[in-house]
């Protein structure tokens, strides 16, 4: 039981980071129907900038929390700048082009950002300075660290703030209006370009925070970290229904839990020696041996199995709207 609880806690922590990244995908998709594949790279740049700033500040002996906050405070504007530049230079000129063009551009931007990061921060795995001393608490046999608690609190806090922004403010209303119909929103006096730019800025800021959280949680950052994280967050967004903000939150958290439970139990479930009918027929089982069909290295595969299943059985996602409405 404590193992199960622990897996859920692990999954919840990773999932809440996925959820925050997934928001960046889903917001942009909701408004301009573009899958911004470069969003994962924005998250990576957030982690890298924070890494540089934190590393530079460590010798000054400030309190650890202050250093991390300054790091995050530097990462957010840099990522917002990247997000804005991306929209202004790469996507806006293509807004009326066929859908495939901005999609391919997004992949191009992602490659460019990744290699810029490679030039700046080298190809090595960078170790995040371990300045925050994390305390671990035991709840029913499961360990939860202060860092995990902080990640959960920050992620859910940001999601709540975003929900308020989208559903309770004039900017949010403008965003939703643009999402429904850009032309009509424009006729009603909404500055569409400003709204779209704002969407990219908000997504990038969330991504920056997610990058710092990821870096401090796992203690590492590398120029390639954005691609797999981005793909998983994208899967989470699709799982929840791309374009749907509560859907991305739900999708991220669900995906994290599915992944943790999947990786935790698939090895036991596919250990053929554990089944009495099969065990005598497999040579490897003799003398307490094991024959595991799918090991825990299939962890990353779960995100994509989920993605495929959702696309097959419920293409609009768990909370997604009918695609027909938009066409």
């Amino acid at each position: 039981m404590d193992t199960f609880l622990q897996q859920v806690i692990n999954g919840l922590t990773a999932g809440s980071v996925y959820a925050v990244v997934a928001l960046g995908y889903t917001m942009v998709y909701g408004i301009i129907q573009l899958i911004n594949f470069a969003h994962g790279e924005v998250v990576m740049i957030g982690a890298m900038v924070a890494f540089t700033v934190i590393n530079a500040l460590v010798p000054y002996g400030l309190p650890p929390l202050t250093i991390v906050l300054i790091g995050t405070a530097c990462a957010i504007p840099v990522c917002m700048l990247v997000g804005y530049a991306m929209e202004r230079l790469a996507y806006r000129p293509l807004r009326h082009a066929p859908r495939l063009a901005p999609l391919i551009t997004a992949i191009g931007v992602s490659i460019i950002l990744q290699h810029l990061a490679l030039l700046i921060w080298s190809r090595n795995v960078l170790a995040f300075p371990q300045i925050i001393v994390s305390r671990t608490y035991l709840i029913g046999g499961a360990a939860i660290s202060t860092v995990q608690v902080a990640i959960l609190a920050i992620c859910f806090g940001m999601m709540a703030a975003l929900a308020i922004l989208v559903y309770r403010t004039p900017l949010g209303t403008a965003m939703r209006a643009t999402a429904q119909n850009p032309q009509v929103a424009g006729l009603m006096g909404v500055d569409i370009n400003r709204v779209i730019a704002a969407t990219f800025l908000i997504g990038a800021a969330l991504g920056a925070v997610a990058g710092v959280l990821f870096g401090t949680y796992y203690g590492i950052a590398q120029y390639t970290m954005g691609s797999i994280l981005g793909l998983k967050a994208f899967s989470a967004a699709v799982l929840g229904g791309i374009g749907n903000i509560p859907g991305a939150m739900l999708g991220g958290v669900l995906l994290g839990i599915v992944e943790a439970l999947g990786a935790g139990y698939i090895g036991d479930l596919t250990n053929l020696c554990a089944y009495d009918t099969l065990a005598p027929r497999i040579a490897d089982c003799a003398g307490g041996g094991n024959f595991v069909l799918f090991g825990s290295n299939y962890q990353d595969v779960f995100a994509f199995i989920v993605l495929i299943l959702v696309l097959v059985f419920r293409p609009s996602g768990l909370l997604g709207e009918r695609v027909g409405e938009r066409a």
Binding site: Q7, A127, T224, A263, S296
Partner: protein, 397 residues
């Protein structure tokens, strides 16, 4: 567009400049020139190790020139052709061909197994003896090439070494083995598991990540439920560090052990406090345990201490020179038989080769993390475990 062109021009100019600098100097004075190649990465993430290897070989060549070595009664002058393979298999083969074309009579290198293996057929075809001071993948000497040697141990000797140390010193009842699903990680994990089972220690079903895994918590949580006394991970420090950190965060008390891929000071940065007390193994001996004469000479020449494999490349270059002296010729065909049956005492102890070109009785060293640095604690030679201090005493004699 103009900017792109400019950038391209600058890049090309830089590349050309770099080539110019590394071009071998010709026209040696006094005696026939004998060219010895050295290959290692001089750019990229492990450039410092490549330079260290090169320094070792360079020291040997310079000492031979100073001592005025005669081959077959004639004065010769050795030159070191130092090449950069960028730790990239493709570049490795190009550079190998370059050395063959430059008529190098022997090669020290390459640093990585990944570059040594694809380069080896090229040297083999040209009949040039190659001695690696750091490539530990067993495959290198399993290809049946008569000209391929190495002066370090092999990965398949390393697994048994760390496993037997673990078994005899920590006496675990249950061990979990994890690998990163790469040829290296899986290979060393298999050897560890085999040795542990041989010592009648129970091993849990293998857990696997990938070489990019950052989140090990699912696997570790599962293992925590089974409460192993020790964990072995076959993989690199970039994944091993997070694994160790997350294991301790989950409250695992097991001894964590690693192969040489995760046997670096970087583990401290990656895992923080959790790194303290880890066990790991490396092929060969730590540079500090090399002969005093070598350490002093290296320090004097390069104004720093050797980093990792320099004593081995120093020995490798000396072996080539020694074999040439014995054969009285710098012709690879003539001196190769001398190299095969050589019995030479260098900076890393006595060196003899077996039929495959592997070093007989290669040492393995066990390290532990103490105060943020990995420190050698034991040396395993011919299946016998010796404490590190004892070993250093025998080397000093």
């Amino acid at each position: 567009m103009n900017n792109t062109k400019l950038a391209l021009c600058v890049a090309v100019a830089l590349a050309l400049g770099a080539c110019g600098k590394e071009a071998p100097k010709t026209g040696a004075q006094g005696g026939a020139e004998v060219k010895i190649g050295h290959v290692g990465p001089l750019t990229g993430g492990i450039a410092h190790l490549g330079k260290d290897n090169e320094n070792g070989a360079r020291l040997a060549v310079e000492e031979a020139n100073k001592a005025g070595v005669k081959i077959g009664g004639k004065d010769v002058k050795f030159t070191l052709l130092a090449e950069d393979d960028q730790a990239d298999p493709k570049v490795g083969t190009t550079v190998a061909q370059k050395l063959v074309d430059a008529k190098a009579v022997g090669v020290v290198g390459h640093l990585n197994s990944g570059t040594s293996i694809p380069a080896s057929p090229i040297y083999n075809q040209a009949g040039i003896p190659v001695i690696s001071g750091s490539a530990t993948n067993p495959k290198l000497t399993e290809q049946g090439f008569k000209n391929q040697f190495r002066v370090v141990g092999r990965d398949d000797q390393q697994g048994p070494a760390i496993a037997s140390y673990l078994a005899s010193e920590k006496k675990p009842k249950l061990v979990a083995v994890i690998d990163d699903a790469t040829a290296y990680g899986e290979g060393i994990a298999n050897e560890v598991e085999k040795t542990l089972r041989g010592a009648k220690i129970k091993v849990l079903p293998r857990e696997k990540g990938t070489d990019k895994t950052t989140d090990w918590k699912a696997i570790l949580t599962k293992l925590r439920g089974q409460n192993p006394d020790a964990v072995f991970y076959g993989g690199m420090d970039a994944t091993g560090g997070p694994l160790l950190k997350q294991g301790r965060e989950l409250g695992m008390k097991a001894v964590f052990s690693f192969g040489d891929g995760a046997c670096t000071d970087k583990m401290k940065e990656l895992a923080g406090e959790a790194a303290e007390g880890l066990l790991c193994s490396q092929a060969g001996i730590p540079p500090q345990a090399a002969s005093k004469a070598f350490l002093d000479a290296y320090k004097k020449r390069f104004n720093m201490d050797p980093i990792l494999y320099a004593p081995f490349t120093y020995d490798a270059a000396n072996l080539l020179i020694e074999a040439m002296k014995k054969a009285g010729s710098s012709d690879p065909k003539v001196y190769l038989p001398e190299l095969q049956k050589i019995n030479f005492t260098g900076a890393t102890g006595n060196i003899q080769f077996d039929d495959k070109g592997d070093r007989k009785d290669a040492e393995m060293t066990i390290f532990t993390m103490k105060g943020g640095k990995i420190e050698p604690i034991a040396v395993i030679k011919s299946g016998k475990t010796m404490s590190y201090d004892e070993f250093v005493k025998t080397m000093a004699k």
